[in-house]
């Protein structure tokens, strides 16, 4: 926030309703949701994230791509009349009447610091950096929490068994949203374990792809030097022009 704003500007900015561009007069269906216990009437077709913004919340952290890829807006909520505490990405889940929401939470975790070249490629890498994986009670709560429908418990079990390949495969679509860790009774940070496991597998377990080797050799031979040099030397206008004229997948 700029220092130059007046106090009144700041106040009016902070209380301004950040709508989603929806003209409330056009809205036919409304639902009531509860954010931190307070009720709000919001249009029925909003996501949790847009509904919160409609209600006046300003999301600065815990919101990223808004497309269901970055994993930043993981949240928990409860549907009316349900005993289950559910979890989802706020940008991907539509509000329902009676839904109880919280401020979009963040699951604090510490990632291990390691030199991948110095690690041994067996289960002990997990014991060393995330020994708490051994506390897993196989309750499967992590799997139930995962918005990506991953078999989280299974990949944690793979970590315990030292099965990197299975871990990497099962955790491949992880978006690091942290919902698994938030719900885990054994306080394991699953997504970090998955991350470590995938890196280990990439480094030691998976075969080096032929096409990568070929391409690296081409680069070393200087086959792309002239093209790259031309780009680096181009003016801003030229770059804009090139960008606009780029070949996109959908154009092909």
């Amino acid at each position: 926030m700029s220092e130059s704003k007046t106090m009144m500007e700041k106040i009016s900015e902070s209380t301004r309703s950040l709508t989603t561009g929806v003209d409330t007069r056009d809205v036919e269906h409304w639902v009531t949701i509860y954010i931190m216990g307070r009720g709000y009437s919001v249009p029925a077709d909003l996501t949790i994230m847009t509904a919160m913004e409609f209600a006046g919340y300003k999301l600065i952290r815990s919101c990223g791509c808004r497309q269901g890829f970055c994993g930043a807006c993981a949240t928990i909520f409860r549907r009316e009349g349900q005993y289950k505490l559910e979890s989802a990405l706020a940008c991907q889940t539509r509000v329902e009447d009676g839904m109880c929401l919280v401020q979009i939470p963040f699951s604090p975790a510490e990632a291990a610091y390691y030199d991948i070249a110095a690690e041994s490629y067996d289960y002990s890498v997990f014991s060393k950096h995330y020994p708490e994986v051994a506390r897993c009670v196989s309750c499967n709560t992590c799997t139930k929490a995962c918005p990506q429908d991953l078999e989280v418990m299974d990949y944690i079990q793979s970590a315990i068994k030292g099965d990197f390949e299975s871990l990497a495969e099962q955790s491949f679509d992880c978006i690091q949203c942290g919902l698994c860790a938030l719900r885990c009774p054994a306080e394991i940070v699953q997504y970090n374990v998955g991350h470590l496991g995938r890196r280990m597998f990439g480094r030691y377990g998976s075969p080096e792809p032929e096409h990568l080797k070929t391409r690296l050799a081409e680069m070393e031979r200087g086959e792309f030097s002239s093209v790259l040099d031309a780009l680096v030397g181009a003016s801003t206008e030229k770059l804009k022009e090139l960008y606009a004229a780029r070949v996109r997948e959908s154009d092909e």
Partner: protein
């Protein structure tokens, strides 16, 4: 000077709590000492297993401060011998759980040296964490 044990209303409550957690009829312990004589970890203990049972019988919550309950290896050597059919390892577990359920770990995972973590088989870590962390 010998210490005086003060028996209060809380003593009974403590006994009841441990009885409930362990599902063992602790008051029927006959103090014969079979458990102590059977215990492989006795050298590491500050009070003998039978003494631990006595402390719980008398409702002494000081039982929670003993080293004995943490060095119990749950080997059940006492269990198969107790002439009263009691399971002292269950009582030790109940005492551990009283502490662990307050989220107070006995074993600080982060204090285990990396080289040991790397060497210990999973079976050791899983069991130790189940018994010694909450």
């Amino acid at each position: 000077m010998a210490e005086t044990v003060v028996i209060t209303v809380k003593s009974e409550a403590f006994l009841k709590k441990i009885v409930a957690l362990s599902a063992e009829a602790i008051t029927v312990c006959d103090q014969c000492g079979t458990c102590s004589g059977s215990c492989p970890m006795i050298a590491e203990m500050d009070v003998t297993p039978s003494q631990l049972m006595r402390m719980v019988q008398l409702g002494q919550s000081e039982a929670l401060d003993t080293k004995t309950m943490w060095v119990c290896a749950s080997c059940f050597a006492c269990t198969v011998r107790c002439p009263r059919g009691l399971d002292v390892s269950k009582v030790a577990e109940a005492l551990r759980q009283v502490t662990l359920r307050r989220s107070v770990d006995h074993l600080d995972i982060r204090n285990i040296p990396d080289d040991e973590l790397a060497e210990l088989p999973q079976i050791a870590l899983v069991s130790a964490f189940r018994k010694l962390t909450g």
